[in-house]
Symmetry: C2
Subunit: 588 residues, 2 copies
């Protein structure tokens, strides 16, 4: 294993591609200075490199084991988790009232990426707990906050999200889990949930399940869903752990990857009913879930970036070590990094990883702006920009996570197909991220419908205008960036045309849905190109050696942006070939 | 499992996209009539569906097991193999002199795809034997042919290819296995080979290893490599099986996929040396291997098509069954095949699969033409066209095999990530095909250097001209094909520009190597579009319901050909950003 947390590149990208430096100069981050942020990320990087990364292979090989309702995580997981939470990492972004450090979302985002770099399967547990903290901070009653939040923030207890049921995946309107009011103000939950990440494990003494369920006589569909806190172990008056609640893990899935992360089937209320406490209002459960969505989707996008980073580091190391063929008149076999087709794979990996990272971090900075800006109008605008960027951050990053992991396997040749090398695990792990936390199809539809329509399209216009600004600055540079300005301008023009089409087609649902996926890809490639260009421009303007940033921006523009025109066409003409015309080809 | 061999679509594609109907009308296939071909493929399809396909999951789950030098294949494999060879399937394309049926390469290609559809891991064993038969037919001495070929053709013995060593993968110049002349005219082989597919197993009573090795004082590099036949069990005077040869399987790999296919480390000559018999001339071993290459690469390309077919069938079946969300005002949940973004995934899968199949079959028909045409000039031209198409057939088809399998997993949502569903196995199995039998990078370089240069570019011109002809016919059709003609014409123009660039850059090795991979992709997409168009034109001209062929051609042209302009740019400008400019980004 050659992995090292790429702290310098992450911080540089946060400052430049994501605009943290500018936001800080505008006073958005108060007294949190560069050194503080750098120190936190450096420590997190060291933890990811030294403590978490060594668990990645054993987690894959041994996996989580299920026996008689109990789940045993892979050797080393429980100890590492306790070390991690004892070091305060779970508390990074939580409110100070419950023991949190209240650091910005941008800082949390980078730490979240780092845990996933170390081991995606390990990092999933804190990710779910983070969602639980956020949910209870915003929607929990004072009593719930008092009892549960300090334990969650300290990492002594973990949290889960219980949404999916066998018949209800993307379509939560179909869920059937029931909740009934009890005399003491609590509820009794009965039903089965599947695909519950870390639904059961041995890393913490209690697990808080956030469960979506229906009350009797609730309205049909998504307006009849309520959210409940259902602890694995009940809490006694004095705060001590009490009896087991009426819920059980009935089994774990045998998955393609993230073997270290137990994916549980949870059965609630086989007896009298699991005791649950309402979070938020009755029938408003989905709205409570939605408030967590931006951060959760951003974190999953960063899983894509994280796996891409690991895969790229491994492929680069192998390409420097493995010698085959002779390049450029060499007398002895050359390291394969010298061969142009291998360089193309590696540069594609590097560029897509950096582009996706820039998009994710930019979304994080916008989320901070939405929370921290003093001006209401600016807060709303920033929230909408963040909301526009989130589906791109999630879907583009997780798609390229798979693509980069696949390229990394290819760079290793036959060795990549052998599990011991580790390249295959990256592909297996990465492949879940385009599916969970809203499939990438759902992200594309969210972008093309709700997000484009925000404030009559203003947030999309603002993001497009920012890309135009980057292009103007690119045009003023010398030859080092090659045709980057022209290529990015063409990409932005294609994105502009596709955006106009989507806006104008607002009443033609079929056209929007048919074009959504290529539209998101087009947006991601273009936005990613702008992010790489911002890094390159900053590197050229500083005294440090900016060669890598310049190289990535140029490669991306000249080699990967060429597809944007075709994507715009697919957006605009997609519906014609996907409607009834396709029926004959899609028949069984 | 819902798999059924798509015999009708395969035969239609062979006739039209691949041009078999025209070749037959020219007399190329002698007295082999349509009915004979259809009957063979229907029987093979039934065998693949009924006997092989049920082994696919058990092969993955149980895999091949290694113990003390022996390999036990998954339950059912050995029995199915014996049934398969007893039915004569191994003899399809072999010469009649050794018990073969001497059917055309095109027929063999379809049967080969069918075995891989049933189970890629199972189909690999016959694939290797086929290579052995071809090699011995062309290069074996009369004695070797007499002793070994009838057993191979009958499928009683199987064959392997022993090329790779730990330090010598793509670069065979580095191989170290030694061969020494013995007094009796045979040779003694010593060395270690890795990644030997079916190097040891329990499906046949003997295994014939074809081994590349160096004689003492052989020239360095690839001109000092000889080829030897090294049987697992030696053959006695009367033809009976004799003693074990001095070779052993030292272990099998733990791989991402194709678990049913044992990938062996073979150790030759730990004692006195394994007894081997020279095949072809001394130091001409690589040339012998090259004669097998076209068929082997075509067959691997067809593995990509086969996995894509399986993945597509599974995804389509799931999309018709799974209900989530409401489409077009439906009052109850709709099958997800009704949702435009799911339709886009499924149509992409169908179109890419059909396009790659068309390319592979066309290469097969050209191989037949190269063998069967009466005119020497035409035979040479056909051989060169086939040689041009083969790297595209191999690399494009295996790349899309992975892409389609990944989309298939996505269509299944969370269920796709659970191994029991089977979608994940397709992705794991498919992922080897871009690596073995010459990595797809090697294919691209072969296309961009040797193949484009054939007869001063004549074969490339001929293929481009054939695409132009398809476009002319498309232009004369009505509106059912939408913008297909215009889109295919643009793609062909981009391919033409990229081809001209590659030809003109013949002395600029760096430019050619940097552009090779996007060039192959560009060629594949365009050629695949022409293949789909040929099928659509034939379907529109016939009385049968051609709706599916029309839909696929149109979808491909309007949605997937848009990227060709960008690929041409990457070809032409790739070197600028991949040379020294990339060094900083590729440093460790």
């Amino acid at each position: 294993m050659t992995y090292r947390a790429p702290v310098a590149e992450m911080l540089f990208t946060l400052d430049h591609a994501a605009g943290l430096a500018r936001a800080r100069s505008e006073g958005l981050y108060g007294d949190i200075d560069t050194e503080t942020v750098a120190a936190v990320i450096e420590q997190a990087g060291a933890f990811a490199t030294d403590i978490i990364a060594p668990l990645n292979r054993v987690g894959d090989r041994e996996g989580a084991r299920f026996s008689d309702g109990a789940v045993t995580t892979a050797p080393g997981y429980a100890q590492a988790y306790r070390t991690w939470s004892a070091a305060g990492w779970n508390a990074v972004s939580a409110e100070e009232a419950h023991g949190g450090q209240a650091l910005p979302t941008a800082v949390w985002a980078l730490t979240s990426e780092l845990w996933a770099q170390g081991s995606m399967a390990f990092g999933l547990c804190p990710l779910l707990t983070h969602g639980g903290i956020e949910c209870l901070e915003r929607h929990g009653s004072d009593e719930i906050k008092r009892i549960y939040l300090p334990k969650l923030v300290a990492g002594e207890w973990t949290a889960t999200m219980n949404l999916t049921e066998p018949q209800a995946g993307t379509d939560l309107a179909l869920l059937r889990t029931r909740a009934e009011r009890a005399d003491d103000g609590s509820y009794r939950i009965k039903g089965q949930k599947i695909f519950i990440t870390y639904g059961e494990h041995d890393m913490a003494e209690n697990i808080l399940h956030l469960v979506l369920a229906r009350l009797p006589n609730a309205p049909e569909g998504v307006r009849g869903i309520s959210l409940f806190l259902v602890p694995k172990r009940l809490i006694e008056e004095g705060g001590e752990l009490g009896a087991r609640n009426d819920l059980v893990c009935a089994g774990i899935e045998h998955k393609l990857g993230i073997h270290g992360s137990p994916t549980c089937t949870m059965v609630f209320g086989e007896g009298e009913g699991a005791i649950g406490y309402l979070v938020g209002e009755e029938n408003r459960g989905l709205a409570c879930m939605f408030t967590m969505m931006n951060n959760a989707r951003l974190a999953v996008g960063l899983q894509g970036v994280a796996i891409a980073e690991r895969a790229t580091q491994a492929a680069l190391a192998y390409a420097h070590e493995r010698r085959q063929g002779r390049s450029g008149g060499s007398l002895s076999p050359s390291p394969i990094v010298a061969h142009p087709d291998v360089r193309r794979m590696l540069m594609t990996m590097r560029a897509l990883t950096a582009a996706a990272r820039g998009i994710c971090y930019r979304a994080a900075v916008e989320l901070d702006r939405a929370n921290r800006a003093t001006d209401d109008v600016e807060r709303k605008a920033a929230h909408e920009r963040a909301s526009l960027l989130i589906p791109i951050a999630k879907a583009f990053s997780t798609d390229i996570g798979c693509e980069v992991a696949s390229l990394g396997l290819q760079v290793h040749g036959g060795m990549g197909y052998v599990e011991e090398t580790g390249a295959a695990q990256h592909l297996r792990d990465a492949r879940i991220a385009p599916i969970y936390e809203g499939t990438n199809g759902v992200q594309a539809i969210d972008l093309a419908t709700r997000k484009l329509a925000q404030s009559d399209g203003a947030s999309a216009e603002e993001v497009l205008a920012s890309i135009e600004e980057t292009i103007s600055r690119l045009r003023a540079t010398g030859p080092a960036l090659g045709d980057s300005a022209a290529r990015l301008a063409e990409a932005k023009a294609a994105l502009g045309r596709a955006t106009a089409f989507m806006r104008e087609a607002a009443n033609d649902q079929a056209a929007i849905l048919a074009g959504a996926t290529p539209y998101l890809r087009l947006f991601g490639l273009t936005l990613g190109g702008a992010a790489l260009a911002e890094n390159a421009l900053a590197a050229m303007g500083s005294n440090q050696d900016g060669g890598a940033y310049v190289a990535l921006a140029r490669f991306h523009a000249e080699n990967l942006l060429g597809g944007t025109e075709g994507l715009a066409r697919a957006v605009i003409s997609g519906a014609a070939s996907l409607g009834e015309a396709a029926d004959a080809a899609l028949a069984l």
